[in-house]
Symmetry: C2
Subunit: 348 residues, 2 copies
Amino acid sequence: MFDLHEHPHTRLNLLTGDWILVSPHRTKRPWQGKVETLPPDNRPSYDPKCYLCPGNERADGSINPVYKDSFVFTNDFSALLYDTPHGEINIDDLLKAQSEKGICRVISFSPDHSLTLPLLSVEGIEKVIELWQKEFKDLSSDPSIRYIQIFENKGEIMGCSNPHPHGQIWASSSLPLELVKETREQKKYWEEKGRSLLSDYIQLELKQKERLVLENEHFVALVPFWAVWPYETMIVSKRHLQNILQFTDEEKTAFADILKKLTAKYDNLFEISFPYSAGMHQAPVNDEEHPEWHWHMHFYPPLLRSATVKKFMVGYEMLANPQRDVTAEWAAERLRSLSEVHYKEKVS
Amino acid sequence: MFDLHEHPHTRLNLLTGDWILVSPHRTKRPWQGKVETLPPDNRPSYDPKCYLCPGNERADGSINPVYKDSFVFTNDFSALLYDTPHGEINIDDLLKAQSEKGICRVISFSPDHSLTLPLLSVEGIEKVIELWQKEFKDLSSDPSIRYIQIFENKGEIMGCSNPHPHGQIWASSSLPLELVKETREQKKYWEEKGRSLLSDYIQLELKQKERLVLENEHFVALVPFWAVWPYETMIVSKRHLQNILQFTDEEKTAFADILKKLTAKYDNLFEISFPYSAGMHQAPVNDEEHPEWHWHMHFYPPLLRSATVKKFMVGYEMLANPQRDVTAEWAAERLRSLSEVHYKEKVS
Ligand SMILES: O=P(O)(O)O[C@H]1O[C@H](CO)[C@@H](O)[C@H](O)[C@H]1O
Ligand SMILES: O=P(O)(O)O[C@H]1O[C@H](CO)[C@@H](O)[C@H](O)[C@H]1O
């Protein structure tokens, strides 16, 4: 009989409409491949050469303020620029291009060079959330902006070019690919059932329990049924919200709380500062109404076997289909079993 | 005025229907992030501990034959298994899964542990192509197989777990994601115009020339207009063919020739054994007719600035939209300017 925990199979990603390949039996494979080196895990609170620390000089010659909480500025090397002239190219329907305008911001999470999210206090994380809200509001007040992507690349293995804990915001004039897909799938469900896709999905997960990682009054953290990265997770608001501006104060605190606990569990998994790319998905802005949209946050961590052996999304995954070696249920159990208290904050 | 070589913009990938983001101005960004270590580049012709070398023992205890050309066997740790029981799961349309069966093969390109594709002779590469053809034929004679993915992960940075030059073949009972997209887009074009999408596309590229890298009588190698990886390329057959079995003898030789030259150029770029994932896309098998399908091969190399600094497809790319820092035209020019003769094969 077909068994999800034993046999190769595909699973549907409800948010994108794509199927992913699961090979539950494959972890037995020996590894003679690449072993990553670990970045140093004993950063000082202040680094005179860091362009994110308070009072230091940045690439463009400006001096950072001596900030107390978090701090935001426009990326000195933005991928999106605000003054892009409008235009498009179409040669025989074969070469098609469109100009894209936007704004890229960098957010330093704290003046302290050593404090990643799980090591900040809940109040410290609340300050970061408030800055995300403020930026979301500011950026969406510009009518040329259609989508605001708030994200963090953590760890040098995830292309993070400065170890000072920070996130980024890229706001664009068109809807990025992943958002086109998630909007389409949520809309389909909304129009058919009159309920949000993620409300129904988390109801079922709260009942089944096997993919849950954390829960508080306002949020759920789980390994989605269709996760592709080994320890991929998603935080979903229990209330059907379109964006971060709709959080109540209580929700803001609950979000800070679940963020701290989830990232502490991640660090506890291999007792290192756990690398990932993470980011929120929210409704487009300056657009039609999006009642279908349900706020959530994805975590895509690259590690598979240990602190130094990652999952490679290469060959087959790039050319054919994303593939994973352990089941979502197995990963959720592993994460559930870990302490919510960071290994560096444990009182012994 | 909007200029493709100066301003941020999006470009349409004709094969997938997805748009990608190009930030031509972004290479000026300084890099304080991860610097890769280089694997040793002086492999012996035979390694007694390699499970792909002739006469050596494999993980399952079997002994490799003392093979002369290339050699194929079923992967000892296959992600797809042939005896998967049929079945599917659907809970409230929210948890959807389907069993997947298939076969995974490993192809050693040559008995010599040190010879990557660009270092094989054209005749040596022809032997590899013949084995690909034989495997394609064998695997497609099984009515439960729907798609055959032939690919290579080269270099440990691309998750390659054994440095002995080899490729893989994963044959599956359903059509993988990328192939669903490419089938859909090619079909749309075929039904509308009665010509193959890639025939029209390469006609235009042969005229415009700025994205060409190599050309011979039967194949073109170019940086596609919509490339996302910095030095991404594609080999396309001039004749509209559905799969590798339709190659004439002349086409087989021409394909070996362009494969050798393209991979030699890649190695010459940074004078290292250049890492990539590469693979052919061909029509599905045991399926309806696919007159729209046009054989091609993609190369996805990860390096950006140097032998040790790669492009990270992380944060924004995973959560929102693939993004590149140099234009396709710039990369094509760089590749065009390099010798077709491998730096190790140069007579001085
Ligand atoms: O099969 P291998 O070489 O052990 O593994 C490599 O290629 C596979 C197919 O692209 C990937 O799934 C693995 O992540 C990668 O490490
Ligand atoms: O902007 P950074 O931190 O310099 O760069 C990092 O994040 C970006 C957004 O995900 C990516 O495009 C880069 O490849 C990555 O190195």
